[in-house]
């Protein structure tokens, strides 16, 4: 079985280093606004952040709803990858995701989602408190 993200909300401090790392890895101009992972700061009494990232669901709504089959599971990494050659920009996956983990890049209006950095997620490496694990 492929590895998966493990999120430990009780360890997260909400420093948003993961967002920055993702932006530096995936975007051209390093914009944290279109980071694939988001660390949300909760309101009191919890007062912490929770990193929210694509869960690569087993029966994924995004894969099912895509009319052209552009979203497919990468058997090596277990991530659901976007085939941009096939994608017709209908944004059905964006609406279908029950967790809101697919985003639209405002620069070119294309969708973006976590691809586990090809099996070596950078956000996990840089998380200072081990709130994100990959095993």
């Amino acid at each position: 079985m492929s590895k998966t993200f493990i999120i430990n909300p009780e360890k997260c401090t909400g420093c948003r280093t993961c967002e920055l790392t993702c932006a530096y890895t995936h975007t051209v101009n390093n914009q944290p606004g279109i980071s694939r992972i988001r660390a949300f700061n909760t309101k009191p009494p919890m007062e912490r952040g929770v990193p929210i990232v694509c869960l690569q669901c087993d029966s994924a709504a995004c894969v099912e709803v895509c009319p052209v089959g552009a979203l497919q599971r990468n058997q090596e990494t277990g991530a659901i990858d976007v085939d941009y050659e096939r994608c017709i920009n209908c944004h059905a996956c964006y609406s279908a995701c029950p967790f809101g983990n697919i985003l639209i890049e405002p620069v070119n209006n294309r969708i973006a989602k976590c691809d586990k950095c090809g099996g070596d997620p950078q956000c996990v490496k840089f998380c200072p408190t081990n709130a994100l694990e990959y095993k």
Binding site: T42, A61, C90, H91, G100
Partner: protein, 259 residues
């Protein structure tokens, strides 16, 4: 698997593939405007010409429609292929003079001046918009009308289409970007029709889709539920966060969630 030869390189292809698909997978570049990986090839644009040798016979054919066959030899850039491709490109440019895509292709092939009389059309008649709407989106709002040089790809009778859902796939897939599509904050304008976007059931902000498109998605896929699709990205993240928080606090268990 089938073995074919492309430009003297042996390529392994699937039995169901066409020459264009096999060549693309092997890293060759063939210009093609009416090809899309998720649609059946129709050979509208005629740009993907290659020289195919099969069973001792050589002919020039469109790579997108020729299925691969064991022992087939394909040449992509023989002088004759380039000559024919230039001719076709010249005709396309004469038809649609101001397309940046065509100009770029012409520069690649070294086509400098177009001798044919220039027209004022904006559409290259590739039919991608009709095919994507019919085969993939399932709205079937567009149709091919007329014949020969007068063919047009528009909604039936040129009127605002009844079954259009405003998804914008036709405008996106068009290789020369000739379909007017306006995606505003609260509405979408296409084919002379204005669609109101659906609104988030929690915060009231406009969503990405029209309610017609959401209805179509719901009818085609059982997995789509109102509570997922009628909630905006921000609110769904907030809900996920809320759930996580409740699990950490111990107010909610996975059993209660039904997972």
């Amino acid at each position: 698997m089938v073995k074919i030869k492309i430009n003297d390189k042996i390529v392994q292809a699937h039995k169901w593939e066409t020459v264009l698909q096999a060549a693309k997978r092997a890293g060759f570049e063939i210009p093609a405007l009416c090809y899309h990986p998720s649609l059946k090839a129709d050979g509208f644009c005629r740009l993907c010409l290659v020289e195919v040798t099969k069973g001792g016979k050589t002919k020039i054919d469109t790579a997108c429609t020729v299925p691969v066959k064991e022992g087939m030899e394909v040449n992509l850039d023989t002088p004759e292929v380039v000559k024919h491709r230039k001719n076709i490109l010249e005709m396309l440019i004469a038809q649609v003079p101001d397309s940046p895509v065509l100009t770029e292709l012409a520069a690649k092939d070294g086509l400098k001046d177009v001798k044919l009389a220039k027209g004022e059309d904006v559409c290259i008649k590739c039919g991608l918009c009709v095919r994507i709407c019919r085969e993939r989106i399932g709205a079937d709002a567009l149709a091919m009308q007329g014949r020969g040089p007068d063919v047009t790809f528009t909604p039936p009778f040129g009127e605002a289409p009844e079954s259009c859902v405003g998804c914008g796939a036709c405008a996106f897939i068009c290789p020369v970007q000739c379909i007017d599509y306006e995606n505003n904050f609260a509405d979408i304008k296409i084919w002379g029709k204005t669609f109101e976007k659906a609104v988030c059931s929690e915060c009231g902000m406009p969503l990405e889709h029209t309610s017609e498109h959401i209805e179509l998605m719901k009818s085609r896929h059982e997995i789509i539920k109102d509570e997922d699709v009628l909630v905006c990205e921000k609110c769904s993240r907030k809900n996920t966060l809320e759930t996580m928080k409740n699990i950490v606090d111990g107010q909610l268990t996975f059993k209660k969630l039904g997972r």
